[in-house]
């Protein structure tokens, strides 16, 4: 396996509140290959959004800090770069799109101008060249009549169009990695299907690597190559999509899959995971998931289970994983 | 943490500094007002002719005025009146304005339009001119001042509350209350208003500063408190003639006004921060 494009190791984000300092992201590690679409899955409090913002050092509040963690882009450490050098990475090597495009597009600037601004900031060049590139980008993201539409303001675009415009903006400087923070959660399901298709096409055409943050396992199953499941700020499980969905190891992953409403008949009770996701100031000791876990053993409340590799590319952090007995039996009989 | 201490911590919790200092200043003045008979060294209207225009000294820490009255005692006694001005001058407009704003915002339509036009009419007149006109008709004195404040000052509260009610009317819990068959009045006063009041209360603290200054200004013009009653505004007015030879007569009451106004201002900031309202 070639060296990963992005390697995140032990990323930690802390927040200072009235009740003390708490970890929102606690030692998250994952890798991203070139051209890979990684799904970062989690519910509220999982830390998925914060981890990605920390990657780009875009933490929204001064109460948040990154006490430790390593982020290597093409093998080179970027976390300790001074701000002016880091700015060359933001936008140029790693782009980001968000859930609500309306709040991330400047409402008083024309769409075309915003994209052209980014092009000129990172690549220099003439105004004309930037405009041409802008129209090219708008075409690539599937906006009809790009020349005309580039003169429009964000509020004149519909939800799906705005999201496409935001993708164009993020791609303006040809980044290697696109971080997509729940970009389709607020869109209608038919529009979501279009955007997911667009992202797949962009990956195929440009070799773009994508980190797709979502809580929707269905979206992940359709779009992503590999899945990383987060809970309570930590990685539970990480592996290739097919294997993870067919035979999850971590009880949380299995629980999450069981909760999907699509699996079951009308009138049948839905499966749930008892209890509630923990809040940042009331994290359980040891494994974050143990109070809600059906597989709990004594060790779970004492120490955080380490990430164990079940296959070279499939890891899970659990003392008593799902299907362990079955797997053992299968190995013995082989 | 033991349960009782945890409860207290939640009560005080994260108290912003402005709130503490502002509250402290207010409490200080309240203590002065309540304890005036005990704290003030002299009778405020007692004239000691032999000690006229005496500069600050150990005997008269704030000096005396041209009638030989002790400035310190007058400042202390006047706290009662000025606190009363700040309080009553805010509370009447607050009540009237809040009620008007709630009704206008909730019912909308014609009711709202009528109120808004009425507000526009009141706002068309310069504030002080209107106040003076009303006081001139009713005759000088604090009672007239309060009536004038009530008639003129309610508009700010009405607009503030109305804006809040318009927003809250759209919230789900307002629609839930409607769907549960609650009467208009119940929805207005039990559900919408308590949530709208937070902004008004913070505003009222800032308003107290202005009311205080207004009261002082009105008294300064001779239309409020009448001599020989001690009130900071009058004292500043009376001391104005002597400013070059006896600066202490106008300065100390002036400082008292500034300090109380400052206290209210900090209280407004602190409350706003604590309750999550941007003033």
């Amino acid at each position: 396996m070639s060296a990963p494009l992005l390697k995140v190791d032990g990323l930690t984000v802390e927040t200072k509140t009235e009740t003390g300092t708490h970890r929102i992201v606690d030692g998250v590690s994952f890798e991203l290959q070139k051209g890979e679409i990684l799904g970062l899955v989690g519910e509220s409090g999982s830390g998925k959004t914060m981890a990605c913002r920390a990657l780009l050092r875009l933490l929204p509040s001064s109460r948040l800090s990154i006490p430790k963690g390593s982020v290597r882009l093409d093998g080179k450490e970027v976390m300790d770069l001074p701000e002016d050098q880091f700015r060359a990475i933001r936008g140029k090597r790693v782009g980001m799109i968000f859930q609500n495009p309306a709040s991330h597009l400047d409402p008083v600037m024309r769409i075309g101008d915003q994209i052209a601004e980014s092009v000129r900031f990172h690549h220099g060049g003439s105004k004309r060249a930037a405009e041409e590139r802008t129209i090219e980008l708008l075409q690539q993201v599937g906006i009809p009549d790009p020349k005309e539409r580039s003169r429009a303001f964000p509020h004149e675009f519909s939800g799906g169009m705005r999201q496409r415009a935001m993708i164009a903006l993020a791609l303006a400087c040809d980044p290697d990695i696109l971080i997509a923070d729940e970009p389709t959660t607020a869109l209608d399901v038919t529009v979501q299907a279009q955007i997911l298709r667009l992202l797949k096409e962009l990956r195929d055409a440009r070799g773009l690597s994508i980190i797709f943050i979502t809580h929707d396992l269905g979206v992940v199953a359709q779009l992503c190559d590999s899945i990383c499941v987060l809970y309570g700020g930590r990685v539970c499980e990480h592996g290739p999509k097919e294997r993870l969905l067919a035979a999850p190891r971590h009880p949380y992953t299995a629980g999450l899959m069981g909760c999907q409403p699509a699996i079951g008949a009308t009138g049948e009770r839905l499966r749930t995971i008892p209890g509630y996701p923990p809040t940042v100031d009331a994290m359980p000791t040891g494994c974050r998931f143990h109070p809600r876990c059906g597989n709990e053993v004594a060790e779970c409340s004492r120490r955080q289970p380490p990430l164990e590799a079940y296959e070279p590319d499939h890891v899970a952090a659990c003392y008593n994983p799902v299907g362990e007995t079955a797997a053992l039996l299968a190995k013995e009989s082989a | 943490m033991p349960a009782r201490r945890r409860g207290l911590r939640r009560l005080t919790g994260h108290v912003p500094q402005p709130l503490m200092i502002g509250a402290g200043i207010l409490i200080f003045f309240i203590v002065l007002a309540v304890g005036a008979p005990v704290i003030a060294p002299y009778d405020p209207i007692y004239q000691d002719i032999s000690a006229r225009l005496a500069p600050p000294s150990l005997v008269h820490p704030f000096g005396t005025d041209n009638f030989g009255r002790d400035i310190l005692s007058r400042v202390i006694w006047s706290t009662r009146i000025d606190l009363q001005i700040a309080f009553l001058g805010v509370i009447f407009p607050f009540i009237i304005g809040t009620a008007a704003g709630t009704i206008a915002g909730y019912f909308g339509g014609l009711t709202d339009t009528l109120f808004m036009r009425l507000i526009d009419i009141v706002l068309a007149f310069p504030f002080l001119v209107l106040m003076l006109a009303i006081i001139a008709i009713l005759g000088p004195g604090l009672a007239s001042f309060y009536i004038a404040m009530a008639l003129v000052g309610w508009v700010s509260y009405a607009r503030l509350v109305r804006a809040q009610i318009l927003v809250l009317k759209q919230s789900d819990f307002a629609m839930a209350a409607k769907s549960l068959g609650f009467s208009h009045w119940r929805i207005m006063f039990r559900h919408l208003l308590p949530n709208a009041l937070i902004g008004s209360i913070v505003f009222a603290m800032s308003d107290a500063v202005l009311v205080l200054l207004n009261g002082a200004a009105i008294s300064y013009l001779g239309l409020g408190v009448q001599p020989p009653t001690a009130e900071w505004g009058i004292m500043v007015a009376e001391g104005q003639a002597f400013i070059s030879i006896a600066w202490w007569i106008a300065t100390f009451p002036g400082l008292a006004i500034v300090l109380l106004a400052f206290g209210f201002s900090l209280l407004a900031d602190g409350l706003g921060e604590k309750l999550g309202v941007r003033p």
């Binding site: 009770r269 | 769907s179 068959g181």
Partner: protein, 340 residues
Amino acid sequence: MSEVTPLIETDDVVLHFPVSGGGALGLTRRAVKALNGVSLTVRPGETIGLVGESGSGKSTLGRALLGLETVTGGHIVFDGAAVTGGKRQELSKIRRETAMVFQDPLNALNPRLTAGEAIAEVLRVHKKVPKEKIADRVAELLQMVGLDPALSARRPQALSGGQCQRVGIARALAVEPKLIVADECVAALDVSIQGQIINLFLDLKEKMNLTLIFIAHDLAIVRRLCDRVAVMYLGRIVEEGPTEAVFSAPRHPYTAALIESIPEIDPTVSLPNAPMQGEPPSPLNLPPGCSFHPRCPYAEPQCSRDPPPTLRRRDDHGWACILDPGQLPPPQTATRLQNA
């Protein structure tokens, strides 16, 4: 099919919200055409799902059914009482016998009242139980929705999203309603929590023979919870019928496209290679004829010329399209789930 009196019946309901003018001088009258002729029948004890995307009008319909919005045309009748243009007693009956549950659990509760106070208020206003019994009844209702009665002393900010939503349901149940309209009430909850609320509704349906109108955009949940489903597009019902029939053999192209757009958790079932283009147009500017024709892969010239198709019915399954049943290929997902 037995002739049961419907609990709630709407007939050609129209709701247009006037908005400030468009055109050069801002003088042209414009309106958000939220509902454009909706006719729906709900029988007692039924759970019906109202699904649609943005601009479909499903939330507006939910509110109109409870008399919380004034309609511009058409009739709505609830258990014999007129909701539209009804007299005071009729409206009062509706308030006493219906309740609504909202999407945003925090926003749906008065932040200044504790859970117990919010529920107790309903009991008091409707005089459901004598004063001494109120506390007991509040505890009973909280237990009914799976909450510890001790939570009645907490304000919404001290409760989780799922707990707030349950309090909202307990408040609705305090009225002892015949009909509950649930407006997107699980959309704001985590997936692992959503099931708890859906299961609660399934339990209440069994225990209380509750009639439920469940407004949602998540078709998978609707499929689990509802007996019938009505699909809305730009203020009209385009398809309506028993859930299984609609999902396995949709008769309207929009329903089919909607079902195909649901991302399946089975990675072998992929999203359509050519997802439906465009987005729902704005309710300010409805396309002529059938509102769906600009996006419809089966559109004929008559679809834009003729007035919008009315709902045709066969086997209790209605659809508003010129296509006949069987002309539409069944969605990919249907076959997979049948084999499951």
